[in-house]
Amino acid sequence: MATFKKAVEGALPAFPPAIGRTARWLKHFGVQNSILLAVLALVTIPALTNPSFTTEANLVGLLQASAVLTTVTMGEAMVMLVAGIDLAVGAAVALGSTILALTIAAGHPLLVGVVASVVVVGLCGFVSGLVVAKLKLPSFIVTFGMLGVEEGIALVISGGNRISLPFSSNLPSLMYSGVGDIPYAFCLSLVLLAAGSFFLRYIRTGRRMYATGSNLDAARVSGVRIDRVIITAFVLSSVFAALGGVIYTSRIISGDPVGDLTLNLQAIAAGVIGGVSLFGGRGTLRGAFLGAIAYTLIINVLNLYGVNPNVAELVSGVIIIGAAYAS
């Protein structure tokens, strides 16, 4: 299972203490993130040899395209850390987007819309987490059900139609303007990365997510409130998805009740590429973030070379399996 990593580790020379800690740290880093680095290496060569890749337009487009996926993947990674799976993220993004657009179109300020969408979607995540933790149903089934519920809500409140943002709204600037060339949306994603990583490392509930995911029973017996941890994971996943919905809305300048239902597959794939294990307890948000970037890169490179989008779909399936195998 960790054969790829072991192979990489075996191939590199063992650094004796004489060489120094930096060298050994680098080797450790390389081994731990070997999948990610392999993917990046795979992508860099065709990328750099294609002149269209290094254009400003393409690079900015890349950052714009990855903003939604990075946010959503980080949320999904939280649930993966507690050995669960959140299949509802695609619908959560759609629901968040719809609520935001409706609120703005009704004349309320942007902030009110964001809060409304985060609260509602977060509530759905709370319910999912509650059912998984208290009723002990498999997260796969519960979030499958929640997917339907969130889709349904989004369709009902929007009447099945996209909701255009009014011209006066400054939401589109989230995506289409930024710090120099870096879209604000991408910066938001970076901020979420920092906040999330802080949470996982320094906040008790965050640290306990790793324990819960690695060994549920041991964690429970050690006094970890696993119910609270699990619910938090699902709520955070939904909150991140809602924020992803905000970014998505700014990208398409409207609220979309249908959304992209393949987002959850992409998020899981990106998480796995980044080293987050579906079995729980392993992985970092940084890995999830980079995994999403890597995934976006792959699609971008495939597009650049004019590969049929259907083939790209095939490739992403292979990637999912390949990344899971290598981890």
């Binding site: 299972m1 507690v82 050995a83 669960g84 799976i85 059912v131 998984v132 009723l135 002990k136 149903l137 498999p138 997260s139 796969f140 089934i141 519960v142 499958f144 059900g145 929640m146 997917l147 339907g148 519920v149 969130e150 889709e151 349904g152 809500i153 369709l155 009902v156 099945g160 995911g213 549920l216 029973d217 699990i230 239902l261 393949t262 597959l265 899981i268 796995v272 579906l278 079995f279 729980g280 049929n308 259907n310 083939v311 790209a312 779909e313 095939l314 992403s316 399936g317 292979v318 990637i319 999912i320 399996i321 899971a324 195998y325």
Partner: protein, 341 residues
Amino acid sequence: METETTAETESAAARDTTWGLSLIGGAVRQYRIWLILLLLMLIATIASSGNFIHLSNLINDLFIAAPLGIAAIGETLVILTGGIDLSVASVWILASVVAGTAANQGVSPLLALLFALLIGALAGAINGLVVIFLKVSPLIVTLGMLVMAEGAARIYTNNNPILSLPSDFQALGTTSVGPVPVQVIVWVAMVALMGGIIARSVLGKTIYAVGGNPTASRYFGLPVAASLVTVYCLSGVFAALAGTLQSAYLNIALPNADLTTLFDVIAGVVIGGASLFGGEGKLVNTMGGVLVVVVIENTLRIVGVSQLIFQAVVGLIIVGAVYLNVGLRGKAHDRVRQKGI
């Protein structure tokens, strides 16, 4: 023969108290899904002011249920081993476009069907081999296959739907013997066949054993690897059969995977009482589970539940059904064995 201590007998009795200790109680408990189905049909009849119970509606439901049920046979086998097959939805459509294209090019219906089944077997075999030899979780593997098979279908048809099929091909899906669709006969026959094989063969014993305890099964000498590959392969074949029959009936073959189909199939298996952790479940009860799903959806449609909240309601009902099933079996023992939530 072992002698049970008084304490064991008493706790066994306590556990069985809900349904009674008698033989009938045991049978009722095992096949409770059929009682639930009857109850639902009663509710459906009342709620629809009698419209549900019309022969034409029931036959229509059978035409919808048969492909789902056939795919559910394969899915049950996979779930019994403690795995899952998410690729059903796209193997379904991949098979249907392959068969449809072949049929439109003049290939005889049965031969086209054979092509479809071969594709299903191939996809399933790949799933099984990756699960066993690359040791990747079935969730991921079949997720990947779900995406790949749909991509393959789109490439194969160049993203164009197949909007008409020759009439002899359509006959595969539309013929009935009297009021009973041939699809249903095929469904029942497959359940009987697979049920018989499972009950009598090493494959069957291995499937249940692997679901219960994979490591112990291997130590026992059971052919775990071969059985798992076979099971995934069968799941692909049944999904292909289902997809082909459905597209023959509907006279259309689309290269887009329908996740509702996947949802309905898995829901049918789970509502029929199979444990998602493996080792428990009966093929016959999956039949009941699929019929329950179809009856629920049909009732909602007749009653006029808005298309928009349809999936939400179905989702809620499915979660409720899983909860009831887990609850009636006993929660503690499921929690102990699972890895992950």
